[in-house]
C-alpha cells in the first residue's frame, strides 16, 4: 500500500508549520522522515491521519483513510509514547485499541510478547519507563497488522538492543510489501534503517528520495588527494575550474570530481600521489549541511 501526501499545509496563526508538502511513501521500504526540531514532521503526520485540520490530502492506496472500511487495517500509528490511560492495564489498552479490527485476546498476547511486554501485560502503565511506553505504543500500532505504519520518534528512550530490534522489525515489516514511515532524530540509526528519506525544514520539502540521492547533494562529498607538490596540483585543478581546498601539509580536498578525474589531473601535473580516496558525507553530515538554514529551534548558547 502506497501513501501519497499531496499539498499538506497547516498554519498556526502567522506561522506556516507545514507548507504545501507533497511526498510519497512507497510500499516495501522503510521511509525515514527527517527534519530539524520544529520542521513540522509531527504536524505533517497528524495531517496525514486527518487528526489536525489543514489543507491537502493523504491517500492510502488512492483512498482517504476514512474511505477505508477498517482504518486500523490500513494504518497503524504511533505518534506519542505516553498515549494510554495510566490506570488501564497494558493488555486491556491493547484489547481496546484492537476493537476496530476485532482483534482476539490471543493476538493481543502475541503482540505483547513480540514487543517484550508480556511480563507486564496486566500491569498498569503509569509506572512504565519511556522505553516500555514506546513498546506499548508500537504494539498498538502493529496490533491489527496494518498495511502502513507511521511512527513518530519510536526509538526515543530505547536502549541500543531495542533500537537494533526495532530496526530489524521495521525492515522486516516493510519487506512484506508494506509502507513504513518513521521519523527520528537518530540520523546514524536512520541511515541504517531507511531506504528512502523525506527531509523537511520549516515545513517545506527538502528532498524525497533515496538516502544516496540525499547524501550526494552534500558538498562534503569530495576526493582527498595527498601528494608531494599539492601547490602544483591545486594550480592545475583551479585552472580547469575545479574547487580544491588545502587539507593538511600535503593534502587537497577536491569537490565535485571523481577519483579518476583527480588521478588524471595529478598525472598531468606530474606530482607523486601518496593517497587518493573518495569521501562520502554521512547522512548526518548531509542533513546538518542541507538544513542548516532551516533550524526552527536551534541551540545558540556558547558552552
Amino acid at each position: 500500500m502506497t501513501i501519497e501526501a499531496v499539498g499538506l499545509s497547516k498554519r498556526y496563526g502567522s506561522v506556516l508549520a507545514v507548507d504545501a508538502l507533497t511526498f510519497t511513501v512507497p510500499r516495501g521500504v522503510v521511509t525515514g522522515f527527517l527534519g530539524p526540531n520544529g520542521a513540522g514532521k509531527s504536524t505533517a503526520m497528524r495531517l496525514m491521519l486527518d487528526l489536525d485540520r489543514g489543507e491537502g490530502r493523504t491517500a492510502f492506496d488512492g483512498k482517504l483513510l476514512k474511505e477505508h472500511r477498517h482504518a486500523s487495517r490500513v494504518v497503524g500509528a504511533h505518534l506519542d509514547a505516553k498515549v494510554f490511560h495510566p490506570q488501564r492495564t497494558a493488555r486491556n489498552h491493547l484489547r481496546m485499541v484492537g476493537s476496530d479490527a476485532g482483534i482476539s485476546n490471543a493476538r493481543v498476547d502475541e503482540v505483547l510478547n513480540l514487543v517484550g511486554l508480556d511480563s507486564v501485560a496486566r500491569k498498569r502503565p503509569k509506572t512504565f519507563s519511556l522505553g516500555m511506553s514506546q513498546r506499548l505504543a508500537l504494539a498498538g500500532a502493529v496490533l491489527a497488522d496494518p498495511m502502513c505504519l507511521m511512527l513518530d520518534e519510536p526509538a526515543n528512550g530505547l536502549d541500543p538492543q531495542s533500537i537494533q530490534w526495532l530496526r530489524e522489525f521495521l525492515r522486516h515489516y516493510a519487506s512484506q510489501g508494506r509502507s513504513v514511515l518513521v521519523s527520528s532524530h537518530l540520523l546514524s540509526e536512520m541511515q541504517l534503517m531507511a531506504d528512502r528519506i523525506v527531509v523537511i525544514a520549516k515545513g517545506k520539502l527538502i528532498t524525497d528520495g533515496t538516502v544516496e540521492e540525499f547524501v550526494s547533494m552534500s558538498t562534503r562529498n569530495d576526493v582527498l588527494v595527498r601528494c608531494d607538490r599539492p601547490d602544483a596540483l591545486v594550480e592545475l585543478l583551479r585552472a580547469e575550474g575545479v574547487t580544491a581546498v588545502a587539507e593538511g601539509p600535503d593534502g587537497l580536498a577536491v569537490i565535485g570530481e571523481s577519483t579518476d578525474r583527480v588521478g588524471e589531473a595529478a598525472f598531468r601535473a606530474g606530482v607523486v600521489v601518496r593517497e587518493l580516496v573518495s569521501r562520502r558525507a554521512s547522512l548526518e553530515e548531509a542533513f546538518l549541511e542541507l538544513t542548516s538554514d532551516a533550524q526552527g529551534f536551534a541551540a545558540g548558547g556558547q558552552l
Binding site: 497528524r46 491521519l49 486527518d50 487528526l51 489536525d52 485540520r53 483513510l65 476514512k66 477498517h70 482504518a71 486500523s72 494504518v75 500509528a77 505518534l79 506519542d80 505516553k82 498515549v83 494510554f84 490511560h85 495510566p86 490506570q87 488501564r88 492495564t89 486491556n92 489498552h93 484489547r95 481496546m96 485499541v97 476493537s99 476496530d100 479490527a101 476485532g102 498498538g140
Partner: protein, 263 residues
C-alpha cells in the same frame, strides 16, 4: 460501528474509576433513602405520620442531584480522558469519522446514565422501605404523580450528565466539565436566585423550586430549571425543557468543535 461500540465499552469498563463512580451514587442513595425512610415522621408532617409518598422522596431528597454529580464524572470522562491522556489520536486514527465517534459515545453513555438513574430510583425505593419498616410506616406510590416524576428524574440525570460532557467537549478540560455544573447548580444559581427574589421582594421556598411563578431570569437558569423538574408542583416539564435547551446549546458547539478542531 460495532468496533466503535466495542472500543467505547472497553474504554469505559477497563478502568477502576468508572466502577467507583457508578457504585458511589448507589451506595449514597441507599444511605439517604434509608435515612429518609427512618426519619419519615419529620419529613412528612402533614401526612398520616407513617406514610411517605415516593414522589416526596425523589423531590425532597438530594439523591437525584447526587447521582447526577457522580454520573457526570463518568460521562465527562468519556471524552475528557481521551484528551487528557492523548488517546483521542488513537481513537480518531482508528475511527476517522468524528461524528460517529460522538454519536456512539453519547448514545452509549446516555443509555448508561438512564440505566444508572433507574437503579438509583429503585435503590431509593428499596432503601426507604427498609428504613421506614421499623417505624411501622410505608412508602406510598401514586402512579399518576410518581410515574411522570420518575421520568423527569431520569431525564434530569441524563441532561445534567450530558451538560458535563458538553462542557468537557468544549473546554477539553475534564475538571471543568465536572466542577462547573456542580458550582453552577449548588452555588452560583442559588445565590442568583436569592438575589433576584430579594430584589423582586418575593420569597424563595425550600425544597425543589417551583419556578413557574418566578421572574423570567430564574426560569432561564439551567440548573434551577433542571431541579424544578423534580418538583411536584408548578410546571416541572417547562423546567426540564429549559434544562434540555441549555444542554443542546452546549452540545451543539461542542460537537462542531470536536469535528473541526485538531485532535
Amino acid at each position: 460501528m460495532s468496533g466503535l461500540i466495542r472500543y467505547e465499552w472497553l474504554r469505559l469498563t477497563t478502568i477502576r474509576s468508572t466502577w467507583i463512580m457508578l457504585a458511589t451514587p448507589i451506595v449514597l442513595t441507599a444511605v439517604v433513602g434509608w435515612l429518609f425512610g427512618y426519619f419519615s415522621d419529620s419529613l412528612d408532617p402533614g401526612g398520616d405520620g407513617a406514610t411517605v409518598s415516593f414522589g416526596l422522596l425523589i423531590s425532597a431528597s438530594p439523591v437525584m442531584t447526587l447521582a447526577a454529580v457522580f454520573l457526570s464524572v463518568v460521562f465527562a470522562q468519556s471524552i475528557g480522558q481521551e484528551y487528557r491522556h492523548g488517546l483521542i489520536r488513537v481513537t480518531l486514527t482508528q475511527f476517522p469519522h468524528r461524528s460517529r465517534v460522538l454519536v456512539v459515545k453519547i448514545v452509549m453513555m446516555g443509555i448508561l446514565m438512564l440505566v444508572m438513574a433507574v437503579i438509583v430510583v429503585a435503590v431509593l425505593w428499596g432503601a426507604a422501605i427498609v428504613g421506614i419498616a421499623p417505624t411501622g410506616g410505608s412508602i406510598q406510590y401514586v402512579a399518576a404523580i410518581d410515574n411522570p416524576l420518575i421520568v423527569r428524574a431520569l431525564l434530569y440525570v441524563l441532561i445534567f450528565t450530558m451538560i458535563a460532557f458538553a462542557i468537557t467537549m468544549i473546554t477539553r478540560i475534564i475538571q471543568l466539565g465536572i466542577i462547573l455544573p456542580i458550582v453552577l447548580a449548588l452555588l452560583v444559581e442559588p445565590i442568583v436566585r436569592v438575589i433576584v427574589l430579594i430584589a423582586t421582594m418575593g420569597g424563595g421556598g425550600g425544597g425543589q423550586p417551583d419556578i413557574s411563578s418566578e421572574p423570567l431570569i430564574l426560569r432561564l437558569l439551567p440548573f434551577t430549571s433542571g431541579q424544578s423538574a423534580l418538583a411536584t408542583t408548578g410546571d416541572p416539564w417547562q423546567g426540564l425543557m429549559v434544562f434540555a435547551i441549555w444542554c443542546a446549546l452546549l452540545l451543539i458547539p461542542g460537537w462542531i468543535l470536536f469535528v473541526r478542531r485538531d485532535a
